[in-house]
Symmetry: C2
Subunit: 458 residues, 2 copies
């Protein structure tokens, strides 16, 4: 599965055939599984309201049966279902609101009786169903044979003609959602609003979470200049100077893209200054990154060029490479590997992402995210993909799995995807106008308008 490439002389570089996208995903998944099975992450307490996006470090158990009582789901009348026969009229004997206890001395509901009841209340003893207020007619009357003003009015409720009920209707049985002690959220769950709501419903104000993994980020390339400009009209901080940029140079954008992608994935980015295309500087920066974090993301220096030194420098450090090229576009030169553990440091994972910005972002989303999820202790990570309708025909050369910057329009009844006109994997402007990537499987040479296609969401 893995190979050791211990060479440094770039002139002797061998062509290693790139593997398929599916194979690359499998290799990444295998490492995710390995990480999850050996992770020794500590648990720490996190306020529930700050736990969004964090990963649960222990299962959440139901604190009691859920619901804790037979919960009424409609406003209406608690009744005995068998009492609802044609022409029946039930006497309303009392009222029960949500949050109101059933008085301990009260007798259970008797035949011919009804209790006016509200959504969220506990069904009182003796009742087995709720007649919806919309399905009933209320009447107020004194006794027939007594016309004195003082006679108390008696409320009655009559179901609409033909309306019957079965036992349990409009009631959720006690414990039917979960039994006391049952696992509601397994360890390794990534907490979204829905999971946080469930923890709150068990009365929890804090939850145990895993720490967020750190990720070292190292852009490489002599052409890179660090961004230094404030917004026009804003002043530079006093201690900072504007870096002049020359016409053959570009600003480093990859370390910003990766830092925010890492943060978006719930981890902590450690952005390093760009490394030069020189073995000594590159090695020093890589060592710094590996010392600081369990995962190092490099960009650039992974193509066929004479100054693409990343793979070679990593090889001198004893790196094990899982892959060094994938049949995908963009992202073909992507590398993935591991530096074995030493006496003083655990094993480190690394990715050498391509220097082209769109390639770096796509390879992050498909390969780095699952590894980052595993380092976070997240179980059951899934790629962020879905389907959409293709707006227009597309033709392409088969042989590569393609990720085309595209715009998904979800304001129509059927979500429709249109590719964005682009100058290629360096075109940051086109990629920022896009909001997803259209996925073209490697065996396709044509996609047809109105066809259902796969999209990688952002």
């Amino acid at each position: 599965m893995t190979k050791n490439l211990s060479r440094f002389d770039t002139s002797s570089r061998e062509m290693v055939a790139p593997i398929s996208f599916a194979e690359a995903c499998s290799l990444v998944a295998a490492q995710s599984t390995a990480i999850l099975s050996t992770n020794a992450l500590k648990s720490r307490r996190c306020d529930l309201l700050r736990a969004l996006g964090r990963v649960l470090a222990a299962p959440t158990l139901a604190d009691r049966d859920q619901p804790p009582f037979p919960r009424v789901t409609r406003d209406g009348f608690a009744v005995r279902a068998q009492d609802l026969v044609s022409g029946t009229s039930l006497r309303v004997v009392s009222q029960l609101r949500a949050g109101e206890p059933w008085p301990s001395g009260n007798p259970p509901l008797a035949p011919g009786e009804a209790i006016e009841i509200m959504t969220g209340a506990a069904l009182p003893p003796g009742a087995d169903a709720v007649l919806m207020v919309e399905h009933a007619q209320e009447t107020l009357a004194g006794s027939m044979d007594d016309s004195s003003v003082e006679a108390p009015l008696v409320r009655h409720v009559t179901p609409h003609t033909g309306r019957t009920l079965i036992a349990g209707e409009n009631v959720v049985p006690c414990g039917s959602e979960a039994r006391c002690g049952e696992v509601l959220l397994p360890q390794g769950t990534r907490l979204g609003p829905e999971q946080i709501a469930l923890a709150a419903s068990c009365g929890l104000l804090s939850v145990p979470v895993f720490p967020q993994p750190r990720v070292a980020i190292l852009a490489t390339g002599d052409e890179l200049v660090e961004p230094s400009l404030p917004w026009p009209g804003f002043e530079l901080p006093a201690n900072q100077e504007k870096t002049p940029i020359q016409s053959h140079q570009i600003y480093d954008s990859n370390s910003f893209a990766l830092s925010t992608l890492v943060r978006h994935a719930g981890a902590l980015p450690l952005r390093q200054r760009p490394a030069l295309d020189q073995p000594d500087d590159l090695a020093a920066c890589i060592h710094q990154g590996l010392d600081a974090a369990p995962l190092l993301l490099l960009t650039g220096g992974v193509s066929m060029g004479k100054f693409d030194l990343v793979e070679d420098v990593l090889a001198t450090m004893g790196a094990e490479f899982f892959f060094t090229g994938v049949k995908m576009q963009p992202g073909k030169p992507v590398i993935f590997g591991r530096i074995p553990a030493t006496a003083t440091r655990a094993a480190r994972y690394f990715f050498g992402l391509p220097g082209n910005p769109v390639s770096a972002m796509v390879t992050f989303r498909v390969f780095v995210q699952p590894i980052l999820a595993a380092l976070s202790g997240e179980q059951c990570w899934q790629p962020n993909v879905a389907l959409a309708k293709l707006a227009a025909d597309l033709a392409m050369k088969p042989g590569l799995t393609r990720f085309l910057p595209a715009h998904l329009d979800t304001s129509q009844p059927v979500a429709t995807v249109t590719t964005v006109r682009t100058q290629g994997s360096g075109d940051l402007a086109a990629n920022a106008r896009a909001n997803c990537y259209l996925i073209v499987p490697e065996d396709r040479d044509v996609l047809v308008a109105d066809q259902i296609v796969q999209v990688l969401l952002r």
Copy 2:
């Protein structure tokens, strides 16, 4: 479009027919447009690395042409395309790396010459295309008529048999992605990693963003108890006591769900303590919320019950209601409206979301999110929906647009959705096992396995 409901006596409550889901979306969209056209949001400076999820307060312009030079996209040899005729051999006269300037005294590339060049470098003058290193053969030779050891070796490059180039091949023209001064990111753009990368590529270290709107959150209901439990094994803070809960009470989970949904949407939640089902307490809490934030989210108290006072209390405050019921499930009793501006306070928007937790979360995602986006200054908000393949047949009563908690499995080649077994819109446990909602249009009574369906993503 709107109606004023100024009644307080709940016994006289009129049945207002719920509107369709599509009508409700249109009414929300109309208010979003109104908000965006009248918003007077201030701009503030934000460090680029902290700008993830923020909304751009001014357009980002290209600081120079992008790319700023004809950018080489492959490692290889800069050539004149017309020189590549069968059997030709070009003399390699120099080398150019990415980030290396073309020496100002150097003459342009002459016929018959090639320059070894790396991805990301600027194409030198005279060259018009790049021959990929994979498509060429290099040779080293002395002069044919000179065998002395001192004779310098001359490098030549020969394209593989039949390999030709057209002008511009493997080069992105200067300014083809964007022209200097062109708008790259319009005002109102929500900044994701792709947009932040583009801003960095213009050299920016900070961007102007709109402030995050505040959102007041008020759960209502006598049955609600505030969560107060630390995780088992963790201690309660010294100043906090565990609130006892009785069997007919439940913990407030809605304000936790909404707080994290608000935060996830890039806004600032202000969670209030739950209000009682009493007009005075409810009115006091509503006033507090309206004073604190431009948007108030209430949950509960919006059904047909005798103690569903939310609509009535809001009506006494002069509320204008855009809708007071939608033909959807869950979420039918949802209300949306506005309290007009006063001398001392701008107009306030409010939603009365249902008390059932799943209903509250669904109505947040479809109705509150677009209003929140507008209050954030975000242009072009779109619902977070996509398509998926349905795993199994489903039958339902038509007439309501349904959102069924479901599980989207994206680990298969075709994203497939399966509904989750649930006890209804109070079933937080089932909803937390789901990761999306399957959308069933109101005119459907059946969906068939393998059919392509709509899902509301989380």
